[in-house]
């Protein structure tokens, strides 16, 4: 594949021209209650060997671009965790509906 044909996946943002001229918004807020809950859940599921960081990343990276940008940070995490728990048959689609 030549460089011209190479399109990085959306999470691969290093040097992306789309944000070249946008200042960094100095968001200092700690995670909200939702974020902290998702964060704690991820750590618990990892400690119980039900998912790994690499699986979390694969789940986030496979979110389609429009959704990737529309979702908040911990919403992307939660989306990935739901995908993984469904794939592994740990929870059912009905339960998450």
């Amino acid at each position: 594949m030549s460089d011209a044909e190479h399109t990085p996946a959306i999470h691969d943002m290093g040097g992306l021209s789309r944000f070249r001229c946008s200042p960094v918004e100095r968001d200092e807020a700690p995670p909200d209650a939702f974020g902290k809950r998702v964060d704690a859940l991820r750590q618990i599921l990892a400690a119980k060997k039900l998912m790994t960081v690499d699986e979390l990343r694969r789940g986030i990276e496979s979110i389609p671009e429009p959704e990737y940008f529309a979702l908040g940070y911990y919403e992307r995490w939660m989306t990935s965790i739901c995908t993984l728990m469904l794939e592994k048959g740990i929870v059912s689609a009905e339960e998450l509906r």
């Binding site: 040097g15 944000f19 946008s22 200092e28 964060d39 859940l41 990892a46 908040g72 939660m78 998450l96």
Partner: protein, 200 residues
């Protein structure tokens, strides 16, 4: 500012948790305990590691060689966490840490990553225009200073060991730790000595 999670996301999380609880996989107590443990990590740990490195050559050597061990010696449990690397600034060389792919951050010694570290702008621009990013923090490096931008990953986390500012000779560990901010540990800012502080 990052938008709050949407109501449907809040609802979906509770459905997921209910399903996991029904199978005995998680409990509300475990969630509360894990959150409390995560909340305890803060940049004060990283700042203390740096202050010690400025005062104690043996600690400095050990920390640069093995950040994970340095963190463990601070009482931080690194079990299950990726290795921690320490990037030592030198005259003429400055380090900046980013995770271009997501938000990998040495959480054990710095706490939750701030929102801006996870932002699309920081992730994309830190590698392309690091001096422009530093300028937004008001950080200007001495002329001729090279910048090494280091990508933190899921497998290896980085923190910066900045240069000790002039005018801090004779300072105690507490005094030194107080000027090592989280931003200095990421590399977007420099620790400010007394001269710079007075000039502000």
């Amino acid at each position: 500012m990052s938008a709050p999670a949407r109501p449907e996301s809040l609802a979906r999380l509770e459905k997921l948790l209910a399903a996991l609880k029904a199978r005995g996989i998680v409990t509300e107590e475990e969630l509360a305990e894990m959150q409390a443990r995560t909340d305890r990590a803060s940049p004060e740990i990283g700042a203390r590691m740096v202050a010690r490195a400025w005062l104690d050559p043996d600690w400095h050597r050990m920390m640069v060689a093995n950040g994970t061990e340095a963190a463990e010696r601070m009482g931080v449990s690194m079990a299950g966490a990726p290795p921690l690397g320490v990037l030592e600034d030198r005259p003429g060389l400055h380090h900046l840490v980013v995770c271009t792919l997501c938000s990998c951050y040495p959480r054990a010694v710095l706490g939750y990553p701030p929102g801006w570290y996870k932002s699309f702008e920081y992730r994309s621009r830190a590698v392309r225009d690091p001096r422009g990013v530093l300028a937004e923090w008001g950080t200007v490096l001495p002329e001729g200073t090279k910048i090494r931008v280091v990508d933190s990953t899921a497998d290896y986390r980085w923190m910066v060991l900045p240069l000790r500012p002039a005018g801090t000779e004779g300072w105690s560990e507490d005094q030194l730790a107080a000027i090592v901010t989280r931003d200095a540990l990421v590399g977007v800012a420099l620790p400010q000595g007394p001269v710079a502080a007075a000039a502000e």
